[in-house]
């Protein structure tokens, strides 16, 4: 049992490493073949002598070879050197250190709020068995799903409401819809009807016979919700002036700062993968319990 767990963990780590390496190849390709690659502004610095300029050019010639460029890129990545941002003229790692806590705080708070509200609504809609509650909650979720995150962010700015709430409102309808469907499907199983016929306590029926069998899927949804919140962070932070990595990505895209943008995408991908893997591993444990 313990060995199987270690094997699963190893598989997840292997998958993450493979995806990050492939993502790194794609990222390196984007940076290497982006317009303006190989142009170094320092060549225009009149204080540099001919030898220094020749050295700069020599380095560029080496990096024109994609394989050499990729090896250098990976080597720098392993040393924690994510390169320099062209727009901000600062190391990418420094910018990340500065901006990541803001996004982590927004995403953490919004996920906590979205899960509390969305999952409670889903439980209420399924357990109350009242069509008006179900329809009302579905309409609310449907309405929120039809609003682009950017428009919602602007409306919140106009209403002077806390912008972080927008992230919660973007994730909430997805959590409600998927968990409602999962719980409704689980509640309609014959063994739940039997438990009700035998007069089991409602709470016991809910936790042991409705929620437990769908726990792995609910946990998978938790992993996906991290990705949803991080994606919504771009328009929300850009339009509400929150200094997080979403805003940084937007500024980098407008300035076509590829090194910064590619590293940001890779880091967000890594966070998403870690969240998904953690949820998946936890889900495996629940699958064992449910079985």
């Amino acid at each position: 049992m313990k060995r199987a767990g270690v094997l699963q963990l190893g598989q997840h780590v292997g998958k993450i490493v493979l995806i990050v390496l492939l993502g790194g190849t794609l990222g390196a390709a984007l940076v290497r073949f982006s317009p303006g690659f190989g142009v170094d502004e320092r060549e225009l610095d009149s204080r540099l002598n001919e030898q220094s300029i020749r050295a700069l050019r020599q380095r560029q010639v080496e990096e024109n070879n994609f394989a050499v460029f990729y090896v250098h890129y990976l080597g720098r990545l392993l040393r924690g050197d994510l390169g320099m941002s062209r727009t901000f003229e600062r190391p990418v790692s420094e910018l990340l250190k500065e901006r990541f806590p803001e996004t982590a705080k927004s995403v953490g708070l919004s996920l906590a709020l979205a899960w509390t509200l969305g999952f409670s609504l889903a439980i209420l809609a399924v357990m109350s068995r009242h069509w008006t509650i179900d329809l009302g909650a579905s309409l609310l979720a449907g309405m929120l799903m039809c609003l682009p995150a950017a428009a919602m962010a602007l409306l919140f700015v106009l209403a002077r409401a806390p912008a972080r709430l927008v992230l919660a409102l973007v994730v909430l309808p997805q959590i409600f819809r998927y968990s409602r469907n999962l719980l409704a499907h689980s509640a309609a199983q014959p063994h739940v009807l039997m438990a009700q016929a035998k007069g089991l306590n409602t709470l016991r029926i809910f936790f042991c016979h409705i929620l437990l069998p769908v726990a792995p899927q609910v946990l998978a949804l938790a992993g996906i919700s991290v990705s949803l919140a991080l994606t919504a962070a771009i328009p929300v932070e850009a339009l509400c002036d929150l200094p997080g990595i979403g805003q940084l990505a937007w500024k980098a895209a407008l300035a076509r700062d590829l090194p910064l943008l590619v590293n940001l995408t890779m880091i967000v991908t890594l966070v998403t993968l870690l969240a998904n893997s953690a949820c998946d591993l936890l889900g495996q444990r629940f699958r064992g319990h449910a079985a």
Partner: protein
Amino acid sequence: MKGARLAAIVFLMVVGGACVFADLLLPASYAHQFRDEPNAAPSSQHLLGTDDLGRDRFVRVLYGTRVSLLLAPAAAFVASLLAALIGGLAGFAGGWVQKGVMAATDLFLSLPWLFLLITVRAVLPLNVSPLISVAITFALLGCLGWAAAARVVCADTTSLRESDFVLLARASGSGGWRLLWRHIVPNLQSVLLAQFWIAVPAFILTEANLGMLGLGVAEPLPSWGSLLRELQSYSVLSGQPWQFVPLILFILVVSSFHLLLLKQEWSA
């Protein structure tokens, strides 16, 4: 529920018809500036008033809706086609081909959608003509939005490949392309249609987000993204509620698409 779906279909047909025939219905072009009437209130001449450059807002709403309503389905078609090709061929081939293609799909799916989109958008030129910006935006949506659908198509193709009627067709001498074209592709139509309809509202929402961030369709061509960006203007607060009309229309159109999709969900 049936009534709501019917209302959604009628609403989409009316909006679609008005947008397609906008050239015949409207007196001015979306770029025409009424220089004497910037920020005008609604009147019989300008049903939704004018924007700060004096352009008729009603005209721009109709043209913007046309851009999104025609091109989002086009992008969804491209995405569904790619999904059918990639997922279908992987599912039909099976073995290592399927494993490799699905691993690539997993990689694609693990990249957060908007981050991937703005990264690829940033590689392409930003300062382009409006028509090229439209083509780039929707081509990107189509080319990058295939992964989730490809997984579903691959799973369906695998189950079809292992089904009894395909086994019978193999036993009768069918093989290769004939098997794929005559027996598997016709049975994938419903799943591809569902993926197409799922993609349309998702692409409309993504285009609106991109447009509001200044990475979508370029001015002066209107799109829902650029129309919704007008909400950034604080004049909305100073008593111009008609500026919310594009947002209301947007919500109604996207909800109508969602209503068309709800049938399966409710029956589940």
